[in-house]
Amino acid sequence: MSSSTELTEKKVFLLKSLDGVIFEVEESVAVQLEVIRELIEGDCARPFISLYNVTSEILALVIEYCKHHAETCSGGTSATIADEDLKTFDNEFMNVDENILLELCSAADYLDIKSLFELTCRTLASLIKDRTIIEVRKMFNVENDFSVVEEKAVRKEFAWAFK
C-alpha cells in the first residue's frame, strides 16, 4: 500500500498531536481509533495523521490504552483471563488526575474509541456521584449561574427524597 509500510513487516502509522509530537503506532493499535481507521481505509493516512484536539500527554495515554487492549485481545490467553486482565488494567488506568480524566473523555469521544469513552464516562459519573455540588462545579470548572431565588427553587425541585 504505502511506501512506509512496505519497509516494515507491520504497518505503522504516524499520529501528530496538537502540540506537534509525532507518535508511531502499529496498525492493530491505530484501528481502535475509529477516526483513524476510516482514514486508513480511505488511504489518507500519509504522511502522518494530525489530531488537532489531542495533546501529546493525552495521546500518549490513549495509545497506551489501545496498545494494552490490542495486545490482550490478540494474545493467546483465554477470554476470561483476558477480561480479568483488562478490568485490572482499566481500573489502574483510570487512577489519574481528574483533569486528565476529563481530557481523556473528550479525546475518546473525538477519536471515537468506544471502550475508552464508556470507561471514562462511567468513572466520571462515579466521581460526580460521590461529591458535593460545590466539588462538582470545581471539577468541571462550571460556574454557579443560579440566582439565590432560583437556587432555592431548584433545590426544592430536585430534593433527594431518600437521604
Binding site: 473528550s106 469521544d109 471515537d112 464508556e118 464516562c121 456521584k129 462550571v142 427524597a161 431518600f162
Partner: protein, 531 residues
C-alpha cells in the same frame, strides 16, 4: 425452614437504585449532536455507530441490566450467570422456592446505572459546551450514567446541567428505586411527578408501604404498565385488597403487577382487562380472591407458610379457571394445596396452559398427577415440588408429556427414587432441566447424625445401610441442568449428557468424587461445592 418465602422475583440489589430511560422521540436537530457540526448537508461519522454508542449494547451494561422481561419470574437465590431458559436450583439451605416460568439470568451486581438512548440535541450541545471542560455530547453521556440520587444533585450544579437532568427525568420510562426506611412520601411523590412518561416502576421498599404510596403512583404515572413492589428488611406492607383492587381497575394500561408482603390484603376482587401478569406473595388467610381479568396469562400466588392459613384454595382456583380462560402459566405455592384444588384446576380446562407449578402441597398425590395429565397434555413445565408423588406418578408424567415437557421439578418429593428419576430422563427426550433436590435422602444417616447415637450405628446392619444408597445413571442428549442437591442417599452418579452445563450436587454427602462420572461433558460442568 424459612417462614418468609420470598417472591419469585428478580433480586434488586443494595445498590441505591437504578433506572433506565428508554429512547424518547426528540424533535429535529439543528446541528449534529455528536460532533457539533451543522447538521445540514453534514454526514456525521458517528451516526452509523449510534447504536453501539448506547451503553445498553456494551457487554458490561448488558450484564448489569435488571430489566425483567414479561412472564419471567426469576429465582432470587443464586445470582450466578446462567444460560437462558434454565431454571436455577434453589440453595440447599432453603426449601424449594417458587418456580421460574422462563428463567433469565440476572447479575446481582447491577444497577447504579442510568441508561437511555436519547441523542443529545443541538441546543444541548450549545448550552453545555460553554459551561464546562467537556463537550456537550460527552457531558450528556457522563450524566446519563448517574444513579437517580446523583442525577438529582447534578441538577443543582448549574442551569445547563439542570436542563439536562430535567430531560432525563421527562424521558424516563423505567425507574428502579430502593426506598429506605427514612424516605418521605412527599419527596417520593414529587420525584414521580418529574417522570410523566413512566411505564415501568420497580420499588424495593425498606420503609412501610400503605395506600399513600399507591395513591402517589396512581396520581403521577398515568401510563404505568408495570408495577413491582418488593419488600425488604422489617418493612411491612399494609395495603389492603380493596386499595389494590382500586388501583388495578383505575390503571387501564397496567399489564403487570408484582407485589411482596401481601399479608394484609384480607380479600380482594381484581377487575382489569389489561392485566396479564400478576404475582402476589406472602398471602395469608384470604377471605375472597376474585380475578375478573380475562386477559390474565400468568399468575403466581405464593402463600405464607403459617399453619393457620385458612384460605380456601379450591374455591379460588375454581373461580380463577372460570374468569381467566387465557392462563398460560400458573404457580401456586401453599401448604394447603390438595387433590381437590388440582381437580378444580383440571375442571377449568385452560387450553393455553403450558407451565404448571403447584408447590408445597404434600397432599398432592399420584392421583393428582393423573388428573393433570388427563386435562393438560401440552405442559412444558411441571413443578410438583414438595408433593407426595411417587415413581408411578413420574411414569404417568412420562407417558403423557413425552413430546412437550422440557422442565420437570420434583424437589422435596420424598417418595420418588433414583429409578423414577432415571425413568423420567429416559422417557422425556425434550427435557432440559430436572430438579430432584432432597429426593433421594439417606434417612438412616440423617437420624444418626441428628441424634449422634453411636450405639444405633453399631446396631444397624451394614446391609440395611447399603439398601439406603441408590445409584443414578442418566443419559440424555438435551439435558442442560440437573439438580440433585441434598440427595444424601445417592452414592454413585453416572452421567452421559453432552449438553449439561450446570450440575448441582450440593450436600450430596455420600457421593464421593471417585464415584461420580460424566462422560464427554466433563469440561462444561459447574460443580458447586462438592461436599
Amino acid at each position: 425452614m424459612h417462614r418468609h418465602q420470598p417472591h419469585p422475583a428478580t433480586p434488586i440489589t443494595d445498590a441505591d437504585a437504578a433506572f433506565l430511560i428508554k429512547r424518547g422521540k426528540k424533535r429535529g436537530n439543528y446541528s449534529c449532536g455528536k460532533c457539533g457540526l451543522p447538521k445540514k448537508g453534514h454526514n456525521c461519522r458517528f451516526t452509523e455507530n449510534d447504536k453501539d454508542f448506547s451503553p445498553a449494547s456494551t457487554p458490561a451494561a448488558a450484564a448489569s441490566s435488571t430489566t425483567v422481561t414479561d412472564s419471567a419470574p426469576v429465582e432470587e437465590s443464586v445470582a450466578l450467570m446462567s444460560p437462558r431458559s434454565v431454571v436455577r436450583p434453589p440453595p440447599p439451605t432453603r426449601l424449594r422456592r417458587a418456580l421460574s416460568f422462563e428463567d433469565i439470568s440476572v447479575d446481582d451486581s447491577v444497577v447504579e446505572d442510568v441508561r437511555n438512548k436519547i441523542e443529545p440535541e443541538m441546543e444541548l450541545s450549545v448550552d453545555v459546551s460553554g459551561s464546562g471542560m467537556l463537550p456537550g455530547s460527552c457531558l450528556w453521556e457522563v450524566l446519563r450514567r448517574l444513579p437517580p440520587a446523583g442525577l438529582l444533585s447534578a441538577a443543582r450544579v448549574c442551569k445547563g446541567w439542570c436542563d439536562i437532568t430535567r430531560r432525563f427525568w421527562r424521558a424516563a420510562e423505567e425507574i428502579r428505586l430502593r426506598v429506605p426506611s427514612s424516605a418521605q412520601i412527599g419527596f417520593f411523590g414529587s420525584m414521580l411527578q418529574k417522570c410523566p412518561g413512566l411505564v415501568r416502576l420497580s420499588l424495593k421498599m425498606e420503609s412501610d408501604v400503605d395506600a399513600t404510596i399507591l395513591a402517589c403512583i396512581a396520581f403521577s404515572c398515568p401510563n404505568l404498565q408495570s408495577l413491582e413492589i418488593f419488600m425488604s428488611g422489617n418493612s411491612s406492607n399494609r395495603i389492603t385488597g380493596d386499595e389494590l383492587g382500586r388501583l388495578i381497575s383505575e390503571k387501564r394500561c397496567l399489564t403487570s403487577l408484582k407485589m411482596e408482603g401481601c399479608c394484609n390484603l384480607g380479600g380482594f376482587s381484581f377487575s382489569s382487562s389489561s392485566l396479564s401478569t400478576i404475582w402476589l406473595s406472602d398471602l395469608h388467610s384470604l377471605s375472597k380472591m376474585v380475578f375478573n381479568c380475562p386477559n390474565l396469562k400468568e399468575i403466581s400466588l405464593s402463600f405464607s407458610r403459617q399453619a393457620n392459613d385458612r384460605t380456601d384454595l379450591t374455591t379460588i382456583v375454581d373461580g380463577l379457571g372460570r374468569s381467566c380462560p387465557k392462563l398460560q402459566n400458573i404457580h401456586i405455592a401453599s401448604v394447603r394445596l390438595s387433590h381437590s384444588v388440582v381437580l378444580a384446576l383440571t375442571a377449568a380446562n385452560l387450553r393455553g396452559l403450558r407451565m404448571l407449578s403447584l408447590v408445597l402441597g404434600s397432599e398432592i398425590s399420584d392421583a393428582s398427577v393423573a388428573a393433570i395429565a388427563s386435562s393438560y397434555s401440552n405442559l412444558e413445565l411441571l413443578d410438583l415440588s414438595g408433593s407426595s408423588i411417587s415413581d408411578s406418578g413420574i411414569g404417568m408424567i412420562c407417558n403423557v408429556f413425552a413430546e412437550t415437557l422440557s422442565k420437570l421439578l420434583l424437589a422435596l418429593c420424598p417418595n420418588i427414587t433414583s429409578s423414577g428419576i432415571q425413568f423420567a430422563s429416559a422417557q422425556l427426550p425434550h427435557l432440559e432441566l430436572i430438579d430432584c433436590g432432597m429426593t433421594i435422602c439417606d434417612h438412616n444417616s440423617e437420624i444418626l447424625t441428628d441424634e449422634e447415637n453411636d450405639e444405633e450405628l453399631h446396631k444397624t446392619p451394614n446391609s440395611k445401610l447399603h439398601l439406603a444408597y441408590q445409584k443414578l445413571i442418566i443419559k440424555h442428549s438435551r439435558l442442560k441442568k440437573l439438580s440433585l442437591w441434598g440427595c444424601s442417599g445417592l452414592d454413585a452418579l453416572y452421567l452421559n449428557c453432552p449438553e449439561l452445563n450446570d450440575l448441582n450436587l450440593n450436600s450430596c454427602g455420600n457421593l464421593h468424587p471417585g464415584r461420580y462420572f460424566n462422560v464427554r461433558a466433563a469440561q462444561s460442568i459447574i460443580l458447586k461445592r462438592f461436599l
